[in-house]
Amino acid sequence: MVAKRIIPCLDVKDGQVVKGIHFEGLREVGDAVGMGVRYAREGADELVYLDISATQEGRSTFVDLVREIARGIDIPFTVGGGISSIDHAARLLDAGADKISLNSSAIADPSLITHIASQYGSQFVVVAIDARTIPAGSGNWRCTTHGGKVQTERELFAWAHEAQERGAGEILFTSMDHDGTCKGYACEVYARLHEELKIPVIASGGAGNIADIVEVLTTGQADAALAASIFHYGQISIPELKKALAEAGVNVRPTAI
């Protein structure tokens, strides 16, 4: 049986890992390659590197960093942030990225998913979806773009289905209602995505403690849990988390150390 995955997410700006609360108020927390190596050793199953400077400032220096990451770490990694063309995706693949995640650009031009997936395979394409409820607390989930700054009319579940049909290999859903709150994931949304989709679903946004991650991988039925601050600031260690998950009956890859 495929193990449930634990994925630290590293937001990168100018080669440094940062994490903002609700994607605002950035603060530097460390070296991108060094932190990746550390997480891999601790038992992270995969890593996500998001170039958060890309959308706003159009940086391309990230490709050089991706090359260093590919040399340094021995687990799969996804890169995202401002990828808006098949050429850009190809440069990242060539630099050694295992997967790319598309977000704002896929909503602006959904055919980008189709083109990249048919050229490089579905396993290479993660579609990241950020959505919030409108009005807040209702069941009406609408997608946002540009790190939550731009609200769109697209409905979450319809968009997730379209992404799958166009060739996405995975869906990474972040609830903007939950992100940065440390009060747990949007479990009911993940359970519904799992029910409706054939491709794996990665949960992101809201983890505050080990119990939150156990819940999203059991009740929420997510295939993987992604988190940032709780790992970066050492609130949860990955070996401890893996142990707790195994004790809760979740199939995980044990940490070697």
């Binding site: 049986m1 495929v2 193990a3 995955r5 891999a40 199953d45 090359r67 590919a70 040399r71 340094g72 021995d74 687990i75 799969p76 060539d94 630099a95 050694g96 295992d98 490089y120 395979g121 579905s122 396993q123 290479f124 290999g169 995975e170 054939k198 491709i199 794996p200 295939d223 993987a224 890859r253 044990p254 070697a256």
Partner: protein, 195 residues
């Protein structure tokens, strides 16, 4: 010297990175002479098996790969090309391994592609030396090599038990990605180097 076959169908950078971490010298090449002279040959591969095979043919490497006498390691689609045939195309393979490559069936709750870390079983032979049954390695694939007499490791996805690794004479193959499988993967690559 280890040669990594450069045929526009590979996760070449990842394999190269793994060899660098193991302190190995390598070259990326599609030159038949260089492949025939290499101590070890790694045939990587991602994406579509039919496209990969066509690419191998266009580079004039189809017969060269089959004629290699030093240890060869096919990874993922690289392994699939060495099998009898693949439903992805469908296409005839090089026929080194006795396995057929088939698509995972549709099953409730079972996701395809088979993506992520899964446990190995029924380990056999030098490539798997030092690894224990239940060791997790990283897979990404929608098609799998069937069980056959060349199987040296197995894995289960849904109701399908398939060959996670194969060996026939000097040819080895892993359906998983040793270059992305942490310490377990490094051990397998080191075993291949040490053959």
């Amino acid at each position: 010297m280890i040669a990594i076959v450069d045929y526009d169908a590979g996760n070449i950078r990842s394999v190269a990175g793994a060899l660098e971490r193991l302190g190995q010298q390598y070259e990326l090449t599609a030159d038949p002479e260089r492949l025939l002279a290499a101590d070890r040959v790694i045939l990587p591969g991602v994406g579509n098996a039919a496209h990969a095979l066509e690419s191998l043919r266009q580079k004039g490497l189809y017969e060269v790969i089959r004629s290699l006498r030093r240890p060869v390691l096919g990874i993922c689609v690289g392994l699939q090309l060495l099998c009898r045939d693949s439903e992805e195309g469908p296409v005839e393979g090089l026929g080194v391994f006795d396995a057929h490559v088939r698509r995972f069936p549709d099953e409730p709750q079972i996701k395809v592609p088979h993506m992520g870390w899964n446990a190995l079983g029924n380990l056999d032979g030098k490539l798997m030396k030092g690894l224990q049954s239940g060791t997790f390695v990283y897979f990404v694939h929608s098609y799998y090599p069937s069980l056959c007499q060349d199987t040296v490791a197995t894995c289960r996805h849904g109701s399908t038990l398939f060959s996670a690794a194969l060996r026939y004479e000097n040819f080895y193959g892993t359906q998983f990605h040793p270059e992305k499988s942490g310490d377990a993967g490094s051990r397998i690559l080191q075993n291949f180097i040490d053959l």
